[in-house]
């Protein structure tokens, strides 16, 4: 089982040096996790390191395919509020 980085990743490099298994690598359009190497930090850290520093909600999927940092969990902006404001901006 492994974490996965998806397209909303902004390539900020924060996770790469933290990975105890060197499973994360610089790729384009976005960074990737080598599923064969990822250990979910088992035995090394209490929390998965990439998930713990990633600033972008939804950019890392858990082994179950869910957002490891779900919408609102990092910025504190409730998803409904975000949707409302984005709609307002679109309507301008």
């Amino acid at each position: 089982m492994a974490y996965e980085i998806i397209e909303s990743c902004v390539n900020c490099w924060a996770c790469e040096p933290l990975c105890p298994s060197q499973a994360i690598f610089d790729a384009r359009p976005h960074f990737r996790i080598d599923a064969k190497k990822c250990t979910e930090c088992e035995g090394d850290f209490a929390d998965p390191q990439c998930v713990s520093i990633c600033p972008i909600e939804g950019a890392i999927l858990s082994p179950f395919g869910e957002a490891a940092n779900p919408p609102g969990s990092l910025t504190g902006i409730r998803p409904e509020r975000m949707a409302e404001v984005m709609a307002e901006i679109q309507a301008r």
């Binding site: 902004v10 390539n11 900020c12 490099w13 924060a14 040096p17 933290l18 850290f45 209490a46 929390d47 390191q49 713990s52 520093i53 600033p55 972008i56 990092l74 910025t75 504190g76 902006i77 509020r81 975000m82 404001v85 307002e88 901006i89």
Partner: protein, 502 residues
């Protein structure tokens, strides 16, 4: 009756008896500091208000990673049309950054300073940051190096910083109280965990103050940046100013929050407003009782290039830089000569502005109390009034009073409307400019067209093109003297007479 006229001569100004930056001509903002500090900031545009008229800086965006989240920052930093901290167009490798610095330094002779300021936290990217510094120390020895940080990992990196000949560090400190911090920082990354809320803020605050003390003990100059967030930390920043001063910071830069919904930041999306010009100035003045305040910060991008008011980043994108042929040795020679001529010019201006203050003091012999006046100035650099009204993208604001002329801040007139919800769609550019200049009673520029002249006058802002190419402070003092002479500033006449009677 004897009034101290600060700035009368260069020598007197340097010994001015006032210990706060709120007092003293703006060119003497740092005049009470020890000589070794003044020498260090003398040609640093971000640390010396006077130097920013003459010298240029650049930031290289080599540091994308961050270890905290701030509510005024959106980590999707890849925007091209905005100018604010944390935003860049391309992240560079250290090698690319060094190439870019050499190219810019060869082409912009005013350049004195290279800073690393993001778009994340430079010290959360230690390898990239220090590799850039290491190469530049060797290849561009005449460029000053500086770095900005949120301070979280600062204590662990002070030793390394000292190795790289960095004598300026900026720490962004928005609070010294974790309860305030919890409203600004949703999380930090610390000891391999994400720590949310008050607990995270508490660790960050401790690290910041510890790092600040360690740097000062090693003789590194520290400036503190604080973002003023109305209703969150505005009432708290005076305390912050006192604490950071006690811990060794030599300069405090209180900046207005930039928050627009389209930036996608927490504050932007939640509708948190930024401070008005008046609120910012009032807070800066309050802090100035204890601390040197910086008021000329332009809150530039993490890849800004050029003089503070301008961004020439577009001229130095990596694809352009790759094709530039740089003879750095001869560029360095040219730059040294250019800097020498700037210095000669600054010295001459100091002499001249001394005369202006004498003129101002002779005005006071009339023993008339006159109120202070704000004036806007259009300048493209060099410390003189040399810009056409219509070409100004920003105006510098000065306050003239009976005792001195001091720099207050700047007003941007192109990118953002400053008023938030009061910003109407049908507003013309000129109306927007007039609103941005709110509180100013005169605008000094090299030239101005008939139409804006009329509208400015109607709005109570007197346009003035009579001081083109004159040093700013001298011109402001002259206009003030003229206004006083015309009896425009007599509001407080009665009190003045009372004082004279006593």
């Amino acid at each position: 009756m004897e009034l101290t006229v600060i700035g009368q001569t260069a020598g007197e100004a340097a010994e001015g008896g006032c210990s706060s930056s709120g007092c003293g001509g703006s060119s003497d903002q740092l005049s009470h500091l020890p000589e070794h500090i003044r020498a260090k900031v003398h040609n640093h545009p971000c640390y010396s208000e006077e130097a920013h008229h003459h010298f240029a800086r650049m930031h290289v965006a080599v540091a994308p990673a961050c270890n905290i989240q701030c509510h005024y920052c959106n980590r999707k930093y890849d925007c091209s049309n905005e100018s604010r901290p944390g935003v860049v167009s391309e992240v560079l490798t250290p090698d690319q950054a060094v190439k870019k610095v050499m190219a810019v330094a060869a082409n912009i002779p005013q350049m004195t300073v290279l800073g690393i300021a993001g778009p994340g936290d430079p010290l959360a990217n230690p390898e990239r940051t220090f590799e850039t510094f290491r190469q530049l120390t060797e290849k561009a020895p005449d460029i000053k190096l500086c770095v900005s940080t949120n301070g979280l990992t600062l204590p662990d990196q002070v030793e390394e910083l000292c190795k790289h000949n960095i004598d300026h560090v900026t720490i962004t400190i928005n609070c010294v109280d974790p309860d305030v911090g919890a409203k600004i920082y949703p999380w930090i990354f610390w000891n391999n965990r994400r720590i949310k809320g008050r607990k995270g803020a508490e660790i960050l605050i401790k690290q910041q103050q510890k790092g600040l003390k360690m740097l000062t003990e090693r003789g590194i100059l520290v400036k503190v940046n604080s973002v003023m967030i109305p209703g969150v930390n505005d009432a708290h920043l005076e305390e912050v100013s006192k604490v950071v001063k006690a811990n060794g910071a030599f300069l405090h830069n209180v900046m207005p929050l930039i928050a627009e919904a389209e930036h996608g930041t927490f504050y932007g999306v939640m509708g948190q407003r930024g401070p008005t010009h008046g609120e910012l100035q009032a807070l800066q003045d309050q802090c100035a009782g204890d601390m040197n305040m910086m008021r000329h910060c332009r809150q530039c991008r993490a890849d800004a290039v050029g003089m503070l008011g301008e961004d020439r980043g577009d001229e130095f994108t990596m694809d352009k830089v790759e094709n530039m042929e740089i003879d750095y040795e001869s560029a360095m020679q040219r730059r040294a000569e250019y800097h020498a001529s700037i210095e000669a010019n600054r010295e001459a201006q100091k002499q001249q502005s001394g005369q202006a203050f004498v003129a101002l003091s002779s005005l006071q012999l009339k023993k008339k109390e006159t109120r202070p006046v704000l004036m806007a100035v259009a300048t493209s650099g060099g410390g003189v009034i040399n810009q056409h009204f219509g070409h100004a993208k920003e105006f510098l604001v000065y306050e003239a009073s009976m005792t001195d002329v001091r720099f207050i801040g700047y007003r941007k007139v192109d990118l953002y409307c400053s008023g938030g919800d009061s910003c109407g769609d049908a507003e013309t550019t000129l109306q927007k400019i007039i609103r941005a200049l709110e509180g100013c009673e005169a605008v000094l520029c090299s030239k101005i067209g008939y139409e804006p002249w009329e509208q400015l006058e109607t709005a109570g802002i007197q346009p003035n093109g009579e001081h083109a190419m004159e040093p700013i402070e001298e011109a402001v003092a002259a206009v003030y003297a003229e206004m006083a002479g015309n009896g425009q500033l007599d509001e407080a006449r009665e009190t003045a007479q009372l004082q004279i009677g006593a």
